[in-house]
Amino acid sequence: MTLGLLPMETDGGGEYHPPSTDDFLWYSVWPGVLPDWVNKPLIQAIIGALIVIVLWWLASRNLKVKPSKAQFAGEYIYEFVRNGIARDIIHHDFKKYLPYLLGLFSFLLVNNWFGEMFFFMYPTFSNVGYAYGLAILSWLLYVGAGFRKWGFGGFLKKSLVPDGVPFYLLPLVVPLEFLATFITRPITLALRLFANLFAGHLVVLVFVVGGGYLVSQSGNLFYQVSGVVSLAFSIIILCLELFIGALQAYIFTVLTAQYVSSSIAEAH
């Protein structure tokens, strides 16, 4: 098992390899036995899903009308998604979409915070495939919600032909609307999530790997002091990443709710 804490590319040999996109490429956790795709991000994603399921399952058992302290905390998060995201954006009918939004937010949050958690130290969604997967699901959800409510032609007309556009502009507007609704929405959803975590983790790597190299390998007092500062600074960046991880989980969930809302809203 090579669930490394940090990919310290500088294996004491002296030559410095700056952190790069290669640091996000993982191979089998058990080489020779399991295939390469059973890698650290996959294990993390599975653990993350298990954490989400187990915590929510524990939280939803024995719910009392008068909450205990633990239940109060669970309710706080539940209501944050239920009232703060689902109900405020989708309004009535929000309960139909609440399970997905709640699961989405929890799954994203846990996996994003893996980037700052000991043992993991890697945000799962800095591998773009997972972000694509969730974006595809969200796309299916809001497009499906639209088709289900308005019918195939009805939803196409509603989403592609905005009210009050003169007919001679339609050849221009319809393709643009199609692109915006069906193509760019899921892509931006996935890339926004991926890029934030990817870049954040890369910055952390730069400070940690670079700082570590300066401290241990440079043999120069000034560089060593700089390395210590760099390592200290990486802690601040990690704190920032905690915030960004929560923010991106929130944004992904809010936008999904927003797209669902625009699909099923009466007036466009």
Binding site: W37, L42, A45, V65, K95, G103, N127, G129
Partner: protein, 181 residues
Amino acid sequence: MFPFTGALLEVDLGPLMPHYLSEIIAGILLMGVIFLVMWKIVVPAFEKMYEERTNKIEGGMQRAAAAEAKAEAALAEYNDQLNAAREEAARIREDAKNQSAALLAEARDKASKESQRILETGRTQLEAERSQLVHDLRAEVGGMATTLAGKIVGESLDDDARANRTVDRFLAELEAAGQTR
């Protein structure tokens, strides 16, 4: 085993190309499992609890409203009773006043009649006594006067007719003198 290279696209997507196709599938599957758990277990449990809580709060409010209505009814009844009692008291007082006035008038009437009667009786008795007295006095005074006159005059006044005339004359003079006084 199978790096998911940009076979479909000529462009090199760099990090935007998933390393393994399994990432997308794993993402979808895991999220699907989470969704199922949320859909079947977590959200129903929370919603049920919220509903119970709402019911309980609403039930409490209804109970409070019922108690309030009951208290108001009791208050209204009490006020009614109080008003009735007040009216009753006022009526009784009025009756008593009327009754006492009647009694007083009656008593006064009775008393005045009684006093009238007593006065009348007294007056009658007095009158009778007075006439008696006058009569007696007249006789006595006449006798005394005659005796006195006889003594003074020294003459016999046995002649009744003359004597009577003399006495009458004397008395008349006496009365006249009394009236002028």
